[in-house]
């Protein structure tokens, strides 16, 4: 399977590998087919094998100085590098590079937790540390701080943050880039830089003030290709004493507007954790009359949906709220939420949920029989990393022998309003059904509120074995559907928040205001700081000059 880096001769590549071995040790320059198989994107949506994003080699430094030396060698031979942290960014490329033939810089061996401070509430970690590692470190020491982890939790806080990943607790913490406080970065020329107060020699508040003085370049390293981050500070949520939940349901379709506005108010006053929206009407999707009403092309008849909901005795929408704090403050906030809902939405139903001291016991986390059926994922709402979400992939009772191997999708950033939700339901649903794609998007689909100040509306597909599109034709259909959806979303003024390498140019193309002024600015910077174009070419849709003609 030997692949060369683009524009690099076999002799030069062999010489570079020898120099990499001198930098990191021969054992940690990986070139065999068996070693490189583990750097493939196991869930690759790429239809054709010859287009798959495979590396030419991997190198695995254990120290910052080794990373610097690897970068210097890559410059010498003009070899593209692609850094990974724990390599678990599945559905977004996993450990595979952005550009075929790149050398993966595998940072997993840089796995030190340098500090967890439970009085000033922060951590400083290297990229190879996983959420599991950080959680176990905190638990073993009995520290009273929480991590905010994505789902699944085997990824890296550094890597997840650098892909603008999200979590599930309070708004500030679940926006992982917001909770990033200070970086150490190996620049494309091999130089070492620290951001924020880390730029002050012996800076003593690195994880407490992230801006420093003058422009803060830390944003360039998220979904970018301007450096290799070797340390990162993370703000940690103090462990609350109590967790409380409650359910609100509203009867009519148009009630989604005041419901969202009420929840926005509570959210932006920082009174609630992540709200989980849903619709009780999903229970009716097996009913032909309701399904047709909820998927009517060109727009649904709201009176018809309200009538069918009333006939079934169901409300149209629901939101599960959660409160972190003390027993008394969570109660006060929930009572206030109930008062607002009653004031703003006639006919709303309000149900008290759980009220539990924190930390929850393992039995309480596994508890599934609360006052009402819940959609909340309980581990992550408690800052507990898990791999349990893989229950959505692989063999299931329904498909014991043909299974979904992986998934891929898009998450469009839409405004936090009912009008935007209704529009997204129709645009995404109609587009996919017109393309003959199997989709669960209907007029009762709801967004996620991972980022505090926007909604993400998703369309996802399985890739993998059996009936789930593992064939080149199946993958090509998924690719075409996603690309079509991206265009439709762009026409409506929506963009994606994140993308797998295979779709990053398409997503970047949506951000085209003033003849791609943003991309031109980023690429001007790229050419200035990485003139050899060695660092993650194409990541974030940013191509260095030497590869720019290859842009999709």
């Amino acid at each position: 399977m030997a692949i060369l880096p683009p524009d690099v001769s076999p002799d030069d590549f062999a010489a570079a590998l020898r120099q990499f071995a001198g930098a990191v040790g021969e054992e940690w320059v990986l070139t065999s087919d068996e070693d490189l198989a583990a750097y493939r994107d196991h869930y690759s949506p790429v239809p054709l094998a010859e287009e798959e994003l495979l590396p030419s080699a991997a190198v695995a430094p254990a120290e910052v100085e080794q990373v610097q030396e690897v970068v210097r060698i890559a410059n010498r031979f003009r070899i593209p590098l692609y850094p990974i942290s724990t390599g678990k960014n599945f559905a977004y490329g996993g450990p595979a590079p952005n550009l075929r033939g790149s050398v993966v810089v595998d940072l997993k061996r840089m796995n030190r937790i340098l500090e967890v401070n439970a009085e000033r509430n922060f951590a400083l970690v290297e990229p190879g540390v996983s959420y599991f590692d950080l959680y176990r470190y905190i638990q073993e020491r009995g520290l009273k701080v929480w991590i905010d982890c994505p789902d699944p939790g085997w990824g890296s806080p550094v890597g997840n943050t650098l892909d603008r990943g999200i979590g599930y607790t309070l708004g500030f913490y679940r926006d992982h880039v917001a909770a990033q406080y200070g970086m150490e970065v190996v620049l494309p020329n091999g130089e070492l830089m620290r951001t924020g107060m880390g730029a002050v020699p012996n800076g003593r508040a690195w994880q407490e003030y992230k801006y420093g003085f003058g422009p803060d370049p830390s944003g360039l390293f998220a979904q970018g290709n301007f450096g290799i981050v070797t340390k990162m500070g993370l703000r940690l949520m103090p462990q609350p004493e109590h967790w409380r939940t409650g359910l609100v349901t509203v009867p009519k379709r148009r009630d989604l507007g005041p419901l969202i506005n009420t929840v926005n108010y509570l959210t932006d006053l920082f009174m609630i954790g992540e709200p989980w929206y849903g619709s009780p009407l999903r229970a009716l999707l097996g009913n032909t009359e309701f399904y047709e009403a909820a998927t009517r092309r060109g727009g649904v008849n709201e009176d018809e949906l309200d009538r069918l909901a009333a006939q079934a005795g169901l409300h149209s929408w629901q939101v599960e709220l959660q409160f972190y704090g003390s027993e008394r403050t969570t109660l006060a906030n929930w009572e206030y939420a109930k008062e607002l809902v009653s004031r703003n939405i006639p006919g709303a139903r309000i149900v008290d949920g759980e009220s539990l001291p924190v930390p929850l016991t393992r039995e309480q986390i596994e508890q599934t029989t609360g006052p009402y059926p819940t959609n909340m994922r309980r581990n992550v709402t408690q800052g507990v990393p898990s791999l349990g979400i893989w229950k959505n992939l692989g063999r299931t009772e329904a498909f014991p022998d043909t299974w979904a191997q992986g998934h891929i999708g898009l998450f469009a950033v839409i405004p936090r309003s009912a009008e935007a939700v209704f529009e997204a339901q129709q645009v995404f649903g109609d587009t996919l059904r017109e393309m003959g794609m199997r989709t669960s998007i209907t007029a009762v689909s709801t967004p996620v509120n991972w980022y505090q100040f926007c909604f993400l509306f998703s369309a996802g597909f399985s890739t993998g074995g059996g009936d789930f599109g593992a064939t080149p034709e199946g993958k090509a259909r998924v690719r075409d559907a996603l690309k079509t959806l991206l265009l439709k979303a762009g026409e409506r003024g929506w963009g994606e928040y994140r993308a797998a390498p295979y779709f990053q140019d398409d997503v970047a193309n949506e951000y085209s205001f003033n003849d791609h002024a943003l991309r031109r600015f980023n690429e001007t910077l790229k050419d200035a700081v990485d003139p050899n174009g060695i660092l993650a070419p194409g990541r974030g849709g940013i191509w260095p000059r030497r590869f720019r003609e290859g842009r999709a």
């Binding site: 583990a38 196991h42 724990t86 595998d106 190879g128 309980r378 791999l387 229950k391 692989g394 063999r395």
Partner: protein, 126 residues
Amino acid sequence: MTRASKAVAALAVAAALAGPALAQDAALVERGRTVFAHYCAPCHGPGRGDDGAPMLPGTHALHLKYRGEKPALLEERDDLPAPVLKTFVRYGVASMPPFRKTEVTDEDIEAISAYLAASAAARRHE
């Protein structure tokens, strides 16, 4: 005492009686137990899965695959020698992605295999 620690404890006692060779085995099994707990057990361990799932995802997948012909729990399997384990670990299988040498070394895989064999043997003698 958990099944895992029973397996390790049994080997440690045997090692004390039988000398350096078995002590090496005990160290290998202990290493395997640690690596398994870190990398494998979150998906292939015992207990319930998330949010009402009856088992953890990897255990559930093997339960559906073997339907009782083989144990769903890897810690009850004595038919996973290191070369077999290595194929699954390095190449992945079904929805399980591969694991790289930077995560689980070849020596770790040997150790996991030894641990699974010891754990399965301990379970048989329970």
